[in-house]
Amino acid sequence: MNRFLRSLTATEQVAALFIIVFGILTIASVTAFLLSLRQRGAARDERWHAELKNFRRLLSTSWFMVVVFWIGWAAGPAVANILFALISFFALREFITLSPTRRGDHRSLVLAFFIVLPIQFWLVATRHFDLFTVFIPVYVFLAIPVVSAFSGDTQRFLERNAKLQWGIVVCVYGLSHVPALMLLEFRDYEGKGAFLVFFLVLVVQACMLLQHLLTRHLERKASIPAISSSFNWYSWLLGMVLGSFVGAVLSFITPFRTWQAVIMAFVACVAGSMGHLVMKALKRDRGVTAWGQRGISVTGANGLLDRVDALCFAAPIFFHSVRWYSGA
């Protein structure tokens, strides 16, 4: 099996990977559907009902992500870039909606949405990786308060700018590292950037999912009750270990050795889960449980940030670890 996979070209290998993942998802969805048929006969308890609903929601998120990545890979890096630029745009829109801005912030918002975001993704597309890593933290961070200062509104100046900068870092800077991973070039690893993205997403998603299931079944006391009613260090640690294990299993699709893949997976899992926690704290502060219009979705574009928040934090850290420590 392994020899057969190695004999394929890079493109064929990626295609095979997608076929396997789509297959697993199809089996999971069909199972969930059959389960939902069965429960209609017997009167099951509420908990089981909620569990299945939750599971189906997780499944739909996974479908969404896999389809996005598949389109991104199949249509080439240019389309992948545009796709992630759009996701970043909608995520930032959700972020700003829930962080009330003042009139004086208008020009800074225009700058963020229509200048910073396109430039950042253009830098990815053209592989200007050195500028790409400093453009937002250096130049944009200084430009935003300058533009805000021009408006002459000093009320809560620092707070307003911090909010906007934070939104840009999470939604634009963080997410732009995902397509950037696809374009990273390793020796003997050309054209397989999609595998790296896959590795990152799969490891982070698996770790979040396992952590979620663990907290449900272990029922430990919440460690930080002010932020999350379920988060506890014990299941967090277990989640990290399991996430790293998934990384080890998947090491054959990466340019890393097994131990390197474990470390990379661990780094991505820690960054992702901590990011998720930070975003939870932000949501708590705003008094909501989900991003988007008070959690009520009509257009379907809502709650996007809930799905990608772990990735927003994991992607830049993963990218820089890969780049610096592997010399890509």
Binding site: R93, I96, H106, V110, G292, V298, T299
Partner: protein, 208 residues
């Protein structure tokens, strides 16, 4: 389909795409379902984009039978403005300046007699305060004259953040239109009482 008609359709789609991209244009139906009956939607007024917002939030089959109100002096100034209000929005023109011996409600009455639904902003002008300004009498007069038309209150949320006064470039921020339970003119209710009740119905939707 004539080429003008086609152009209007394309413009409508373009506008819809733009509004959805920028605001999400979400409709939240609380007090009543979206239904093809004759209605007057009345909402708070905070931005130039309010009209487009409600128009975009309505489902397509209602959009075609619902006509917004446009100020005649402003929206007939250029050929393009005239075209977009008539061909795309199918707007009803009203005079802002009251002329001798003319009822400013006359175009609205004609549209309602014709069976169309309307979108109106009873505050008259755009407000900057947290709460909408007192409503003008037009809503009361129409309610009296057309008792069978359903009066639906609506709250437009967040749109003033998309394009504050004096700015030309809109920014993307999620907005919503919340539609509430229809209001009816009660037996013997006087004008002031009714208008305040209608205003409260709009304000109440802010926190739904």
């Amino acid at each position: 389909m004539s080429s003008n008609n086609l152009r209007a359709k394309a413009m409508g789609w373009g506008l819809l795409a733009l509004v959805r991209m920028l605001t999400g244009a979400q409709a939240r139906w609380y007090g009543c379902p979206p239904k093809a009956e004759q209605r007057i939607y009345f909402a708070n007024h905070q931005s130039h984009a309010d009209l487009v917002m409600i128009w975009a939030a309505l489902p397509e089959e209602l959009r075609s039978i619902t006509r917004p109100i446009a100020a005649k002096d402003y929206w007939t100034k250029s050929d393009f403005k005239r075209w977009i209000t008539t061909a795309v929005f199918n707007a009803v023109y009203v005079e802002r300046e009251r002329k001798e011996g003319e009822d400013p409600l006359q175009p609205l009455i004609e549209a309602l007699e014709h069976g169309d639904s309307l979108i109106i902003f009873p505050e008259g002008t755009r407000g900057h305060a947290e709460e909408p300004q007192p409503f003008k009498a037009g809503l009361y007069n129409l309610a009296q004259r057309f008792p069978h038309v359903v009066l639906v209150p609506a709250w437009i949320d967040n749109i003033q953040r998309v394009m504050p006064k004096g700015e030309v470039v809109p920014v993307p921020i999620l907005c919503s239109v919340t539609f509430g339970e229809p209001v009816q003119l009660r037996e013997g209710e006087d004008r002031k009482e009714f208008l305040e009740r209608a205003r409260q119905a709009v304000i109440a939707l802010r926190d739904v």
